[in-house]
Amino acid sequence: MAESAEQAAGGGMTEYIHHHLHNLQWHVGSGVFSVINIDTVAVTLLLLAVFLGVFITAARRASAGVPGRFQAFVEMVVVGVDELVRETFHGSSKLIAPLSLTIFVLVFMMNFMDLVPVDLLPWLGRASGLPYLRVVPTADLNTTLGMALTVFLLIQYFGLKHKGPGLFFKEMFTAPFHAHGFMAILLAPVNLLLRLIEEAVRPVSLSLRLFGNMYAGELIFILIAVMTLGAGLAHGMTYVMGPVQGMADFVWTVFHILIITLQAFIFMMLTVVYLSMAAEHH
């Protein structure tokens, strides 16, 4: 009896997990690349709209008078990011602080979607006719890599702007190993290779770190949800697994609050560090 239930649950489990990890996709053309993950894009745009709405409303209403609760909240975030950026980046830039703020708040909001009960939105989606729905944009590599590549391009732009094209390209061949004469020519390819690896590693590590954390977090929520998959009031195990599931879910949610904040912070902080390194002269 128990064996057959487990077997049934096993099949259901695989399907359940697979279903949860499948994006709602729209094939715009033929080929693997010409696919759009509608759910990721939609949730991202929704969060962007909320973020921009709140932030630009605050900016429009901002005055030097006594701040209200709403303004004080927004200013608290702004000042926090501003201080962090000032500590790390010792140049003047109009881009770097707003960029950091956008990264932190946006990544946090996208990560936060992980704390919405894992079955709630897919269930609502199914009720309204959507076959798949993944609601955590940062658990989609497209999002994290897209952001990391944007940051990568900004790093290159920063390097070009702060060093000038001459120094920017010269440093590709002369740093980190300095030499004179023949040795300089010998070391040039080594320097170039190191530079290329260094630059390539940054977006990859940035995106994979965030993606890995959020994907794993989502997966653990799914696995916790699986504990009572197909459970009925007639099964004895339901009364054991139910409380265990509740406990596990609570513990992981609390822990995950820390993770989502930390990952948002790390993404922001590394961006600031990379940008300030790009602006520095070797």
Binding site: F33, V41, I56, A62, T102
Partner: protein, 156 residues
Amino acid sequence: MNINLTLIIQALAFFATVLLVMKYGWPHIMAAIEDRQKKIAEGLAAAERARAELKDADARVAVEIRQARQQAAEIIDRAQQQAHQLLDQAREDAVAELNRQKAAAQAEIASMAQRAREDLRDQVAKLAMQGAAKILQREIDPAAHRMLLDQLATEI
């Protein structure tokens, strides 16, 4: 790992958001914060200044109160001195008046005594002449015995 067109869309959406925040959000909020910081700094400085001024004023008031008190004490002192002087003057005047009147009275008494003595002397001389006339049974010519009478009068 299904990398697809979503990557481009997400990158563009992210970049657009950064641009919007940079253009329409961040500068306004930072300007408001900096304005407020300036205002607060000015307010604190003004409060500090006002406190210093109040302290100055308090000190000035204390000095003035002390001076006023001193002046009042001086005025009272002077008034008392003046009163004493007036009293002394009056006393001296009274004593002088008393002495003067006493002297006048004594002088009058003396002159009256002198006059009485002279009257007495005259009468004694008259009595003496009458006595002598009676003794001699005849009128003594006062003129003839003027010298004698005067001598007698001085001897009495």
